[in-house]
Structure formats: C-alpha cells, structure tokens
C-alpha cells in the first residue's frame, strides 16, 4: 500500500494557502517567514513530535515550466509543417501550467499509523501547528486533534519515497540503538587490551550504565545535534 513501508509511514500533505495579503505581505510569504523563524535540531518543534524520523516544511510557490524537449521526431515534423501555417509551430510548444494557489507542504516520515501520529503531533505542538497552518484554506475549522486529522487527510498525497537513513522501528528503538552504538565504540576503544575477566567486569558495568533494555534513558534525544 502506498504511504506505508513496514511500520514506517511517509506523509506528504499539501495545504493550499489563502490568496491575498495581510497589509502588503501575502499570506504565503507570511507563512514562509514563520517557517524561517522555526528552530532547528533540538530547538525544532518537530523534535517534540513523537515518532518523527525526518520531517520538513516548505512552501510550494508554483510548478516548474518544462520547456521544449531537445529532439522529438513528432515535434520536428510539426516544425517542418510550420512552413505552411505558424499554428503548427505553436502546437509544438509546451503548455505553461500554474497552480491556483501556493501550498504549505508538510512532509514527514514516522513510525506507526497516521492518526496516532497526528494526534501525538497535535498534543505536542498544537500552538505551533495553529501558527504554521493559520493562513491555509479551511484551517480555521480545525479545533482539536480530530479536526487536524481530518484536515491533513484531505491534504494528503500518495507518497512512495521514504527517508533512507532510518529503519521502520520506533523512534525510541532507533535513538537507543544509535546511543548504544556510540557508547559501545567508546567502550571498545577505552578498554582495548584488557584481560578477559577484567573486560567482562568492565562490560558488566558498561551494560548497567547504558541499560540496553530501557528505551527511555539513557539515550540520544530527538533532534540532538551534539554528543
């Protein structure tokens, strides 16, 4: 099924931004400005959203114009016919498409099902959500988590591409695994050359400290950028 790979979900939602302005700033530019004001890494609101592997916002201003292909036998034929009538030449030119509005794009790869994720997102950062989506068409009807879920589902696209740097395990599992890997490297480096008994004892202390079966702590924090 599209959007799902194992336990991972790829969400891409396009929310149309209202046409028009606040004073001399368009709604879309205002949203853009608010996005630029968001923190990154530890300070990103998305670091607070449970189970987020990788997420991003951006503004889709318009679609790109695809110019004439370099070599196409059919077009060349029409090109030749243009010696009779110019409309043959015009027929070969690609149409210029435009969007009816600019879009706020929210793209997130996460663990679990969509509704649970969006409910968690609402509960973690609903103030940020309201501020980011404020100028999107029909968002003023969103009052609670269920309303947000319905809204995002209406904006959702089919997505088939997933964030490569992640498995489909829960975020806690992955962050703990990352933490354990780093700690184990440090352990291996700082204890090389010890005898078996000494090494075993050191390893026991190490395991007690890092607690591999306890996901909550110690671990790598979501969004953490510096060890």
């Amino acid at each position: 099924m599209a959007n799902i790979s194992g336990n991972a979900y790829a969400l891409t939602a396009l929310s149309p931004i209202k046409n028009g302005c606040i004073g001399e700033i368009s709604y879309a530019d205002e949203v853009q400005d608010r996005l630029h004001g968001l923190g990154v890494c530890e300070d990103s609101p998305l670091a607070k959203v449970p189970q987020t592997y990788l997420a991003r916002f951006f503004i889709l201003d318009d679609v790109f114009y695809e110019s004439t292909p370099g070599c196409d036998p059919f077009c060349n034929l029409l090109d030749i016919l243009s010696i009779f009538k110019d409309r043959f030449r015009l027929l070969t030119l690609p149409r210029e498409d435009h969007l009816k509005s600019r879009y706020l794009v929210f793209s997130s790869n996460f663990h679990g099902d969509l509704e649970t994720y969006l409910r968690g997102m609402w509960s973690a950062i609903n103030a940020d959500i309201k501020r980011i989506w404020e100028h999107c068409v029909a968002f003023d009807g969103v009052r609670d988590a269920e309303g947000f879920i319905t809204y995002i589902k209406r904006c959702r696209l089919t997505a088939n591409l997933f964030f490569m740097g992640s498995t489909d395990d829960s975020l806690e599992e992955q962050l703990k695994a990352l933490y354990l890997k780093q700690q184990f490297v440090k352990f291996a480096v700082s204890h090389q050359g010890l005898g078996a008994a000494e090494l075993q004892e050191a390893f026991r202390v190490f395991i007690e400290r890092v607690q591999p079966n306890r996901l909550a702590a110690p671990t790598w924090r979501p969004g953490q950028s510096i060890p």
């Binding site: 291996a188 090389q192 050359g193």
Partner: protein
C-alpha cells in the same frame, strides 16, 4: 599511449614532478599586480624564461639541455583580473577558483589552528601571481646557488616593473622570521646526508603520483599510478583530468573559460603550506607502541599504508615476517622492479592487511570502494579516477627538535587538477575529513584530518577476521598537520601566457 601532447605549450611543472628529476630545491614567491600594462609587460618578460615540458638532453631525443633552475608561473583569479582579462573570460572560471582558498575553509576543514587567521602573513595580502623556482644543486658551490640566480633574475624584472609588480612579503622562516619575501623548500636528507623522498614524519612521499595519457613514455610507470581496467590491468588516466582542453574520464572537456586558447593545455594548482607537528606524531606512536601487536614501526606503517624505512606497501607486507621477505627481494631487485614493488598493488577487501582508514588508501582507494561488489561500476576504479591529483610539492624547513611541534617545518603541498572542486576539494573534504565512502563512521584521515581535541577521532586497524584477534583502535588522535597558507592558481599554457602578456585574450 598513442596520444601526443603539445609539450612546448605546456608548463614543465605539469608534466614533471621536479623533485623526482634531480631538482632538490624549491623557492616559491607571490606577487601583486598594481598596474595592468606594466604587469602584462612583466608577464611577457618572465614567459621567455618559463620552463616548458619539452624533453631534456642531447638531440635528437632532447630539445634543450636540462635546465639548472626551471621557472613556472601561475595566477589567482584576482591576478588575472588585475592583468585585464575580459569579464567574459573571467566569468568562465569555476566558482571555487574565483572564491579562492580562504573562502573555501568550511569545505577544506581549515578550522582551529588551520584557520586563515593563523596563516603566514603573506596570505593576508592580495596575492595575484605565484612564481616557482625549482633547482638542481651545483656540484661545487652553494646548494642554493641556482635558486638564488633564478630568483635574482625574476626579482630584477620585478624591480624593473616600475611599481607595476610588487613582491609580497610575510612568509615565516626557520629562525622565527615573519616577513620573508619567499618560501624556500627542499627535499630532506637522510642521516648520511643523502637526498631522500621523505617528509618530516619519515614517510616516503609521492610514490603513487598519477600518470596520464601523453605524459610519459616509460610504460612501466603506469602500473599502480594510472587507472584500473576491468581486466585487472592499468591504463594511463585521461589527459583531461589534468590538462584543460582535453577529454577527461567522463569523455567530456572539463569546464574551462573561453576562449579555448586561454584554457587549453593549462590547469589549476592548489598551493598549501602544511605545517607538520612531529612531537604530536611521535607521542601518538609512543602511546600505542607497546600495546599495538607488531610494535611501533608496524603501527606507523598501518597508519599511512606504507612502511617508513623504504615505502613498502603494507598491503603486501602486513607483518614483520612478510616485510623481511619483501625487503630481501627489494634489495636484490633492479630499479624498475623496485618501482613496481612500491607502486603496483591493490588493497585487500577486509582491510586486515592495509587498514581501510590508512592514509594512502583514503586518498586513493585504488578501486577498493567497490567493497566486494565485483563489477559494481564500469571499471573498478570508476569512483577514484575522477578524484586524482598530481602532486608537485616539496618539504620545507628542518625539524631541529622532534620533541616540539612549533618551528617551521612541513610540506609545501601543490596539487594539480582540472577541477579543484571535483578533485582536490573532494578528496580533502570527503576522503580526508569525512568517512562516508570508506564506511569508517566519523573517523578522519590520521595524518591530514582536522582532528579536534574537543571531539577526538580514532582509527581502526582491522584484524584478520579468521585470526580471532580483536581490531586495534588508535584513539585520541591530535591534529598532526595544520594549514599555514595557500590559494588556488591557474597555470596557463605558454600560448595563454603570451596572449595575457599582449592583452590579446578575446573570448568572443
């Protein structure tokens, strides 16, 4: 090797690493052009003495006698601008060349002690021109006699430019000087005062210097220095990797400014003064000498990928027993066989012979990035062949006290390539300071990496998985090499030099 290059049009330092051809001394100095007309006249005068790539020796093979002191010249972007190149030509240069080395510091990892604020003062100047002198030593007389002669000749032309050309000062010297007008360099001498190809850490430098099509006629030098073929052989690299205006490994002309006469047979030069910290290096070896199985010298060999005494590739001599056998064969071999023993090898897949993080493996993986996926690319070295650089530098300074890092000693690193960004900068960023390609986590190249005391890196010396032995970790690696200056230069062809001198560069 059927390709014939226009050797009289190509500056001599592109084709030849002078250090290997009996020119043990070097002097590098930098100029600023204050007046376009007088600057162009100066370039015209110097061009008459610039050494080309024609062959030396008695006719018919040789064109000229071997010169005592070859002179070569190169320009920064600002230098070409000062010489009045048209904007349309200037705009055709690659952006990294236009920006210059200082502004690329984030890519190059020039941070902390390598930050441009700590460079020799000359690099705070507006550097326009690089002049290099390489010289033989006279049989009788002062070792620097030929250097000095050539230098005085250039200097008299600078003095005669009536202020149009200014010699920039600000090089650090051996005795605490801060404002020397030139950077001297010299190959090092061994304990018997014999010239050798080593640098200050004791390794033999430059063995794997690449060869490209049209460059040389002695076929035996291709093995280990060219590119790997699917059949397991070696072929010279495409000329366009090192000379503009010729097809490169992607079967394209490398991007170059117009007109073609300006760029063809020219190339780009990376000049870097790299200070070496011998005390830190000795301490690193000492810290692991006892715990590393195999001892201090094997450890040193594993770090670099070559043994320090004779340059033996550690992939073929991974322990003392195999090294002893190799040494015996090496001692009995003729010059050509020796060269093959040093250069012609490939790396082991698992890295238990030559570690994957070893310096010579990181900077030139010799097809080993296929990682056991035989046939993954068109040729085994497809990923490496576009990341090769010609090495044209020399060591500088003398280590008077191996217990100290300060002082004036290191390597004048000169790398030649047609794309600084694709070749030199890629190697520096991705293979020296990052380890994604070598799959070594966040480890950096031991010798050249910008190791950070706050976040010290390590290197893994792999063990044979069948041996049951654990790998060995070299940890707490200090910064062993620090950048002390440098910039990006364009080495024009002789034709281009004459055009620049005449103000006749026309991109239309």
């Amino acid at each position: 090797m059927s390709k014939r290059l226009d050797l009289p049009d190509i500056q001599g330092n592109i084709i030849r690493a002078y250090g290997r051809f009996g020119f043990p001394k070097g002097r590098f100095f930098f100029l600023r052009i204050d007046d376009g007309d007088r600057g162009r006249a100066f370039v015209g005068t110097i061009t008459k003495r610039v050494t080309t790539s024609v062959s030396w020796g008695p006719p018919p093979k040789g064109v000229i006698p071997k010169p005592e002191a070859p002179i070569n010249i190169a320009f920064t972007y600002n230098g070409l601008k000062a010489l009045g190149l048209p904007t349309a030509s200037l705009a055709g240069f690659p952006q990294e060349f236009i920006m210059g080395m200082k502004k690329r510091k984030a890519i190059l990892g020039d941070d902390g002690p390598s930050d441009p604020e700590h460079w020799d003062k000359v690099w705070a100047e507006d550097v326009h021109v690089a002049v290099s002198i390489n010289a033989q030593t006279p049989e009788n007389g002062q070792p620097l006699e030929y250097v000095e002669e050539a230098y005085q000749w250039v200097k008299s032309r600078i003095d005669g430019s009536d202020g149009g050309v200014v010699l920039l000062t600000g090089h650090r010297g051996d005795d605490g000087q801060e404002d020397l007008p030139f950077q001297d360099a010299s190959i090092l001498y061994d304990e018997n005062d014999q010239p050798c190809a080593k640098e200050h850490f004791g390794y033999t430098d430059g063995i794997g210097d690449p060869v490209f099509e049209g460059q040389i006629t002695d076929e035996h030098r291709v093995a280990g220095r060219g590119k790997l073929t699917r059949e397991g052989g070696w072929a010279p690299l495409a000329t366009g990797e090192f000379l503009l205006g010729h097809p490169d490994e992607a079967h394209e002309y490398p991007p170059a400014p117009a007109p073609i006469l300006l760029s063809r047979n020219g190339t780009f030069m990376v000049y870097r003064k790299l200070h070496q910290n011998p005390a830190s290096f000795e301490r690193l070896l000492d810290a692991h000498a006892e715990s590393f199985p195999g001892g201090r010298e094997l450890l040193a060999a594993k770090l670099a990928g070559r043994w320090r005494d004779n340059g033996a590739p550690v992939v073929n001599t991974p322990d003392t027993a195999s090294k002893a056998a190799w040494d015996q064969r090496f001692a009995a071999a003729d010059e050509r066989t020796r060269d093959g023993m040093l250069a012609d090898f490939r790396f082991d897949l698992m890295g238990d012979k030559c570690p994957i993080g070893a310096h010579i493996r990181r900077i030139n993986p010799r097809g080993s990035l296929e990682f056991g996926q035989e046939g993954a690319y068109d040729t085994p070295g497809a990923l490496d062949d576009r990341r090769r650089i010609l090495r044209r530098g020399l060591p500088y300074g003398v280590v008077r006290d191996r217990g100290r890092d300060d002082g004036n000693h290191g390597v004048i690193f000169m790398a030649l390539n047609t794309s600084i960004e694709r070749q030199f900068e890629f190697v520096q960023q991705q293979w020296i300071n990052y380890a994604n390609d070598s799959k070594e986590g966040s480890d950096k190249d031991v010798l050249l990496g910008n190791h950070d005391a706050a976040c010290p890196s390590k290197m893994v010396i792999h063990a044979d998985p069948k041996s049951g032995q654990p790998p060995y970790f070299v940890d707490e690696i200090p910064r062993l090499v620090e950048t002390r200056g440098g910039d990006y230069f364009f080495i024009p062809s002789m034709t281009a030099l004459r055009m620049i001198a005449k103000g006749k560069v026309d991109p239309t």
